[in-house]
């Protein structure tokens, strides 16, 4: 506990006044000659126990009342952050969450949570006599000493960013720093909005963090400034995919909002190459909505950039999504075949007549190489699964966002790919078929069409199938609940395993109403990897940029709308969303999608994460009526009054009844 008026504490000596007065009174008694001595002696004998205790309580109440009064005048400071008994600190290691969600404005002054945290830390440290301040910021992840502390809010390493945070990583860095440096009496302060995605409560790293904190010679206190105040209504916009088809740009974007109680209209503005194009209104009924918009590009443009933006709201930094585009990318399919009746059909399904940008190429398994796969969007593998040592290029293709479809091989093999292998080949009984009875209509290549129409998997007549073994998530099941279509997500891409062939001896999949949409959907998914070459996450170091100087900002939030970001101190471009030129390439960087997930860790999760550490939580640190150091003089004033009332009650003596007034002589 610290005090605003520390000098007043000398007044505590005044608490001894009642005791001194009591002792002086005992010394300076008056002498009275008394006749009714027997009553005094009797009363003195009877008053020894209970009455002396009462008198002692009165004396104590007087002393405590004076002490409480002095404390109240000295304006004691306690609070969630400092707590009771806050000892003198040598060093404070501040872990500052600079993620985008910390830019949510709360309170009447229009300060973001990050700004409020910084202000309060500066104020508190000032009150504590300015101990050493070591900053670990979430964007750069570097450790910096801040001296003087008053400059904390003027540093670029405390400025707003469009990044996400990795709190476990930062705490680990703080722990390592304390271990390596001589910091004396140290505390770790964590200023964060407790966003679940940043804290990663499920991460296995927490146990090692606890161990490393526990292993420190002087176990530091962890004080968490939780800026958990719920934000105002906020809607964010993010681009999911971008596709160029000749002079058309097809934008798949998503609107997400924190308030899903009422339907609202959201205005979205589209801009290309710095010019506003159109502005459209969309209605949101739930928490999020996925939308698609086709934008006509200026003729004969090879590449360009733009953004889509929303009107200002609770957090302006998530109101813009940037994009960049290049030439239209052909949708090329590689069919790896061991031969068979189904191959021509698969080729046609992957390069539909009339779709000029689609093409398919049939190769043998041994021809598969990185260079061949680099230009492909989809890989159809109708051959024996590759041996592990020969599957590296296949792995990489999927990892980088490519799509793959695996079909049953004619050959028996135990080879596995991505933990999945083919099982037995089964044939249906005569005059019977394997029927698909259950499939996911919302996710996967077999999902419904955009107009809600279903792909009629239940009409499929299969006489031969091959079972799928391994850890795979099923998208469609046979009538005996075994997997007909399964998917494995790997890196940015995915591989699907189909349990039958478009072959008359296997099934009537070759009719087309089922296999064509499945292949086309998966092809489109794979084709997005070329679009994603124009995107990056804010804060992620791209291999193209060796130094910060390699990055030139073409457009950023402040250029989109000054009202969005009018900060004078700015982070370096790497941590800000916008369209950047990195050498010859144009890349749009946007905030990580995790920042659109607004869930916060709860007390139970926090206790589990920091179990065994000496941590204290100061909730709603950002609210207006809170301070990291709360003044509690009112409590002491009330305590003084209570003590005085107790003293008065105990001092109330039963006065003898007043005697009747003296009658005048007759």
């Amino acid at each position: 506990m610290s005090f605003l008026n520390q000098a007043i504490l000398w007044g505590l000596l005044a608490a001894s006044i009642p005791v001194i007065v009591h002792l002086l009174n005992r010394k300076r008694h008056r002498t009275v000659k008394w006749a009714a001595m027997s009553f005094i002696l009797k009363a003195t004998r009877e008053s020894k126990g209970r009455k002396k205790l009462k008198h002692f309580i009165i004396l104590t109440a007087r002393t405590l009342a004076l002490a409480a009064l002095v404390f109240a005048v000295a304006q004691p400071l306690i609070g969630g952050l400092l707590g009771w008994g806050g000892a003198k600190l040598d060093t404070v290691v501040l872990v500052l969450d600079r993620s985008l969600s910390m830019e949510t404005e709360t309170g009447s002054e229009g300060l973001s949570k990050r700004e409020q945290a910084i202000e309060q830390v500066m104020q508190t440290l000032g009150e504590m006599g300015n101990p050493n301040l070591i900053l670990v910021d979430s964007a750069t992840g570097t450790i910096s000493e801040v001296n003087p502390i008053s400059t904390l809010n003027t540093l670029s390493i405390t400025a707003a960013t469009d990044t996400k945070s990795n709190i476990p990583d930062l705490i680990e860095k703080a722990s390592n720093y304390i271990q390596s440096a001589t910091t004396g009496q140290t505390e770790v302060w964590i200023a964060s909005d407790l966003q679940s995605k940043d804290w990663q409560p499920e991460s296995s790293r927490w146990s090692s963090i606890r161990s490393s904190l526990d292993a420190l010679e002087q176990k530091p206190k962890l004080r968490i400034l939780a800026l958990t105040e719920s934000q105002q209504d906020n809607t964010s916009i993010s681009i999911k995919t971008i596709k160029r088809r000749d002079d058309l740009l097809i934008l798949d974007f998503e609107l997400t909002r924190n308030n899903d109680l009422t339907e609202s209209i959201v205005n979205v503005a589209f801009s290309i190459n710095g010019k506003s194009l159109i502005s459209k209104k969309y209605s949101i009924g739930g928490q999020s909505i996925s939308l698609q918009e086709e934008i006509e590009l200026p003729k004969d443009t090879i590449n360009g950039h733009g953004y889509i933006s929303l009107d200002p709201d609770g957090n302006n930094r998530d109101n813009t999504a940037f994009f960049a585009y290049g030439e239209a990318t052909p949708a090329h399919t590689i069919i790896v075949s061991e031969g068979g009746e189904s191959i021509p059909y698969l080729e046609k399904s992957a390069s539909l007549p009339g779709f000029k940008h689609q093409s398919a190429e049939i190769i043998a398994p041994h021809q598969v190489s990185n260079s061949i796969l680099a230009k492909a969007s989809l890989l159809i593998w109708k051959a024996e699964l590759p041996e592990p040592e020969k599957s590296q290029s296949l792995n990489r293709f999927i990892e980088e966002g490519g799509s793959a479809i695996f079909l049953p091989s004619d050959q028996e093999s135990d080879n596995q790919f991505l933990g999945v292998s083919w099982g037995q080949t089964q044939e249906a009984n005569s005059s019977e078929y394997f029927i698909v009875t259950n499939w996911n209509e919302n996710d996967g290549p077999q999902r419904n069409y955009n107009n809600g129409e279903t792909i009629p998997l239940d009409t499929l007549r299969t006489i031969k199938r091959r079972t799928i073994k391994g850890d795979i998530s099923s998208l469609a099941d046979w009538d005996d609940s075994s997997t007909m279509l399964g998917r494995v997500i790997h890196g940015k891409g995915s591989a699907i395993f189909l349990g039958t062939l478009p072959n008359r001896t296997w099934s009537d999949l070759d009719i087309g109403t089922i296999s064509v949409p499945i292949i086309q959907n998966h092809l489109n998914l794979g084709n997005k990897k070329f679009g994603s070459a124009f995107f990056s996450e804010t804060g992620r170091h791209t291999p193209l940029a060796k130094q910060e100087a390699d990055i030139t900002t073409i457009t950023d939030n402040s250029k989109v709308n000054a009202a969005f970001d009018n900060a004078t101190i700015k982070s370096t471009p790497l941590y800000l969303a916008g369209v950047k030129r990195i050498k010859e390439r144009i890349i749009a960087t946007n905030r990580p999608s995790d920042e659109d997930v607004w869930g916060q860790v709860d007390d139970t999760e926090l206790s589990a994460m920091l179990d065994g550490t000496n941590f204290s939580l100061f909730e709603n640190a950002g609210s207006e009526d809170s301070s990291l150091t709360q003044q509690i003089w009112q409590i002491f004033l009330i305590a003084a009054l209570v003590f005085l009332i107790i003293e008065a009650l105990l001092c109330l003596n039963k006065k003898p009844a007043k005697r009747a007034p003296q009658q005048p002589a007759a």
Binding site: N25, R26, R28, H29, R30, T31, V32, K33, W34, A35, A36, M37, S38, F39, I40, L41, K42, A43, T44, E46, S47, K51, K52, K54, H55, C651, N653, K654, P656, R659, Q662, Q663, P664, A665, A666
Partner: protein, 298 residues
């Protein structure tokens, strides 16, 4: 000689009320008070049969003529009142807090009563007792006797512990029977012993009245600061915090007052608690009026 404890105006006002005995008295002279004996007053008492040895002069011859029997006609005897003022002069009677001392108040009561007694032709005596009875003045009717009494009252110097109980026993033995005894004291003594002494007096058929003197502060005990209380009788002292002991002190005093009242009631003696801030004239007029027979002379 003038004494401060004599107020002639008070005596003049109280002189209008006679001092009456509440029971037949045995005096040494004819007076206005009823005697238990038959005497020569004009008030017929009773007839009784003549027995040998009776004075034949008291035979009622008219009755003999009517009944042919000898009857003696008896009349009530009137006698004088012998009033004893029994004043406690122990050290505790010298106590006063803001009003006058208890002994000053006792002087007023005793002297005024003695004056009124002698003034109406009765006899008044005085006994002063501290650790033992140190002065006894038998009742006399002479005015010069009154002067001696005043002088002795004036010379009182309270001291020592009280020998009140023994003094009462002594006086009960000495003064025969059927006298009026007014005891003026603060009664800081053993109440059981006091009760024995009072019953001794009642056994001798004395008309006993207790004037119980207390200083108002002795009852209220209204002190703020710690005090060193010095016993006025044996000079022992105790330092006490009045705020702590006041409640118990008052409780003890209350209990004492109730006990002494019960003691007086049990011994069938009159009792009057007097605080020294009371007007003594009121106390005495109340005392005198209370003794006046409601239906005239009994």
């Amino acid at each position: 000689m003038d004494y401060s404890f004599i107020d002639h105006q008070v005596i003049a006002r109280l002189g209008a009320i006679p001092i009456e005995a509440r029971q037949p008295m045995l005096g040494n002279a004819a007076g206005r008070h009823r005697s238990p004996l038959r005497g020569s007053s004009v008030e017929f008492a009773e007839y009784r049969k003549y027995v040998q040895g009776d004075d034949t002069r008291r035979l009622d011859w008219k009755a003999y003529a009517r009944s042919d029997r000898y009857y003696i006609k008896e009349f009530e005897a009137d006698t004088n009142l012998r009033a004893y003022m029994f004043v406690d002069t122990s050290g505790s009677m010298d106590f006063a807090f803001e009003s006058e001392t208890k002994i000053e108040y006792a002087r007023k009561l005793a002297s005024t009563l003695a004056y009124l007694t002698i003034d109406q032709g009765d006899a008044a005596g005085l006994s002063l007792v501290d650790e033992k009875t140190h002065l006894e003045m038998p009742p006399r009717r002479k005015v010069s006797h009154l002067q001696h009494m005043f002088q002795n009252l004036n010379n009182i110097k309270p001291k020592g512990e009280t020998g009140l109980v023994q003094g009462l026993h002594d006086i009960a033995e000495k003064i025969g029977s059927r006298a009026m005894i007014v005891i003026i004291s603060d009664f800081f003594c053993d109440l059981e012993e006091l009760q024995d002494a009072l019953q001794h007096l009642r056994h001798k058929k004395h008309d006993v009245t207790l004037f119980h003197l207390m200083d108002p502060q002795e009852i209220a005990f209204d002190f703020e600061r710690p005090h060193r209380f010095v016993d006025m009788e044996d000079n022992t002292s105790v330092v006490a915090e009045p705020t702590i002991i006041a409640e118990d002190y008052r409780e003890a005093v209350k209990e004492f007052l109730e006990n002494i009242k019960t003691t007086a009631f049990d011994a069938n003696v009159a009792y009057r608690l007097i605080t020294t801030d009371e007007n003594y004239e009121n106390v005495l007029s109340e005392f005198l009026l209370d003794r006046v027979p409601k239906g005239g002379k009994q």
